[in-house]
């Protein structure tokens, strides 16, 4: 029970952090200043959500009894075990290994071009929005509060990315070619979110219940974008929720974690 909640909290946090990290790669390199600023905003929102969630995960752990702590030992960052202090948000973000990350694969894929970034954000935000809506009703007061606070942000991410999907789908021949190519790359990564992981029981709401609302949202935006929705029920990638990631995550983590690995347990 405690273990599932802890792992689920990490899953939510990892999703937000990894996508926030990816989007941040655009900062200073966007197609126009306004878009640079907008995407950086999304990145900031996601990193903010990740911080709240990691803090909550750390609080959970610090409040566990010995048995509870032993049950989640495999999810903890090894270097922290020698710090002799309570678990903190940055330990979870910066010192876990790739196999301990629980984010959806779609969040870790390279940023690609603007079409890839936009479409990934749209797919992810459409899911996250529904997920946070469910969580608002959670019996876990902290998760409910974080979801409540984050929902406004996510609604904006969803609207913004949806508008861009429409612009690119119904823009020029080139933008259409690019968003269709992004769709060919991304579609197989969209199904993972809806397949419940072992930790998505009890307090965590059932993600499978969100599929039809998600399909509907994608369908209506795609219709406006004059894009075809690929057949659902096709084969889907998975593994992120049990820590088997694509070959991209390791590089992202090596870069993101380098200072904490080089200078462990310092204050910055």
């Amino acid at each position: 029970m405690n273990k599932e909640l802890f792992e689920y909290t990490l899953h939510l946090a990892d999703n937000a952090l990894i996508l926030g990290q990816r989007n941040a790669e655009w900062c200073g390199h966007g197609p126009a200043l306004e878009q640079d600023i907008a995407l950086t905003n999304i990145s900031l929102d996601l990193i903010g959500q990740a911080r709240l969630l990691y803090q909550y995960a750390a609080d959970q752990y610090n409040a566990m009894d010995v048995g509870g702590q032993a049950a989640v030992a495999a999810l903890l960052p090894k270097p922290w075990k020698e710090f002799n202090r309570a678990l903190q948000e940055d330990d979870l973000a910066y010192l876990r290994e790739e196999r301990q990350f629980r984010n959806l694969l779609i969040t870790e894929l390279p940023k690609g071009d603007w079409a890839m970034t936009i479409l990934r954000q749209f797919f992810f935000s459409a899911f996250q929005y529904l997920q946070y809506q469910q969580l608002q009703q959670s019996s876990d007061a902290t998760l409910a509060a974080i979801a409540d606070k984050s929902l406004k942000e996510t609604a904006y991410h969803l609207r913004w990315s949806g508008e861009w999907v429409i612009r690119l789908g119904d823009g020029t021949a080139e933008s259409r070619r690019r968003i269709e190519a992004a769709l060919a790359d991304l579609w197989m990564f969209t199904g993972e979110a809806f397949v419940p992981a072992a930790f998505e029981t009890g307090i965590a709401p059932d993600p499978a219940a969100l599929r039809s609302a998600w399909d509907e949202r994608i369908g209506s935006v795609f219709a406006e974008a004059t894009l075809d929705v690929p057949a659902t029920g096709t084969w889907s990638q998975g593994g992120g929720k049990r820590g088997v990631h694509t070959e991209h995550l390791g590089y992202l983590l090596a870069e993101m974690q380098v200072l904490q690995r080089t200078y462990p347990n310092m204050t910055w």
Binding site: H29, P31, L33, I37, T172, S175, Y263
Partner: protein
């Protein structure tokens, strides 16, 4: 009215501290001077995103990552305000971007130095933003209205960045030996380039006289540089660090710090394109511009389709 009469009215306004607004008559040279200065300032904000952007992905804590992201984002915002201010003078953002990419327009040379360690983030906030503010605060009262108003917003945020930068250095200065060494190293590398940010000495500064007369500028390069040295020489003590200048010392008579000779050869070298990162910075901006072209075109094409649809519905 004759041009001479217009010029008199114009100069009277300036002297009376009345802001010049876009629709007011102004000498062509004033306009050109302002376009040059504002666009250079805008370009500096945009190019300035790159050296700091270099550490976003590697920031050592989530809090620092968020602070750095927000700061670089603010710089994009400053670029926006300033491009808008320049646009009131009859030049488009695209034209200004062209000038940046072709090398016709300049940006602050400080951004042609690489950011080598994390400590550079704090030191840039402290020294580089500090020097920028020293230059910019007087611009809040500059004679051209849109520029002055943009600068008020910019300065407010820059001061915040500078405080944040210094705060992060205080943390490093109280940290481990490695963190303190990293901090001293960053100060050593950024100190002299920061002093160069005030531009050439007054006797070698070609645009200054007219800018002073028109109250675009209000203090000379050397005056501002001295203020900066006086400020930093005190602040560095709070960090328990030193500035890399054996000649730096308090001059009781002048009531200012004396400091060593600046390497102007390096300055002119970097200005003329031979800094460590000049090509890298322009290549990065060129790449963002080129790779963004299809996105900007798609947005325009879609807006046009929308407009036509709405039009035909209305018709």
């Amino acid at each position: 009215m004759s041009v001479q009469e217009l010029e008199t009215i114009f100069q009277n306004k300036i002297d009376a501290e009345v802001r010049i607004e876009p629709k007011d008559w102004m000498p062509e040279k004033y306009r050109q001077n302002l376009i040059r200065q504002i666009s250079q300032h805008a370009h500096s904000e945009i190019v300035g995103m790159l050296p700091e952007g270099n550490w976003i992905s590697r920031a050592p804590s989530l809090k620092r990552k968020a602070i750095l992201l927000a700061k670089v984002q603010d710089e994009a915002g400053h670029g926006l305000y300033l491009y808008s201010a320049a646009e009131t003078l009859g030049i488009s953002r695209d034209e200004m971007t062209e000038q940046l990419l072709s090398g016709k327009a300049k940006y602050s040379s400080i951004f042609n130095y690489p950011t080598v360690t994390w400590a550079d983030m704090g030191v840039i906030g402290w020294l580089v933003d500090g020097a920028a503010i020293m230059n910019q605060v007087p611009l809040c009262r500059t004679s051209y209205g849109p520029y002055s108003r943009a600068m008020i917003r910019v300065c407010k945020e820059e001061s915040f960045h500078q405080r944040q930068g210094f705060e992060s250095l205080l943390v490093l200065s109280k940290g481990t030996d490695e963190q303190r060494a990293m901090l001293q190293d960053a100060i050593d590398r950024w100190w002299w380039p920061s002093l160069m940010m005030f531009g050439p000495t007054d006797d070698a500064s070609p645009n200054s006289v007219l800018s002073m007369k028109w109250k675009i500028k209000r203090f000379s390069n050397d005056e501002l540089r001295q203020r900066f040295v006086d400020m930093v020489a005190e602040q560095v003590k709070l960090l328990g660090m030193t500035l890399p200048d054996p000649d730096l010392k308090w001059n009781e008579e002048r009531k200012h710090y004396d400091f060593g000779a600046i390497n102007w050869e390096e300055f002119w070298n970097v200005v003329s394109g031979n800094g460590p990162c000049n090509k890298q910075r322009l290549d990065a901006r060129q790449k963002a511009w080129d790779e963004g072209a299809w996105v900007r075109e798609a947005a325009v094409a879609h807006a046009e389709k929308r407009r036509q649809r709405t039009g035909s519905v209305a018709a």
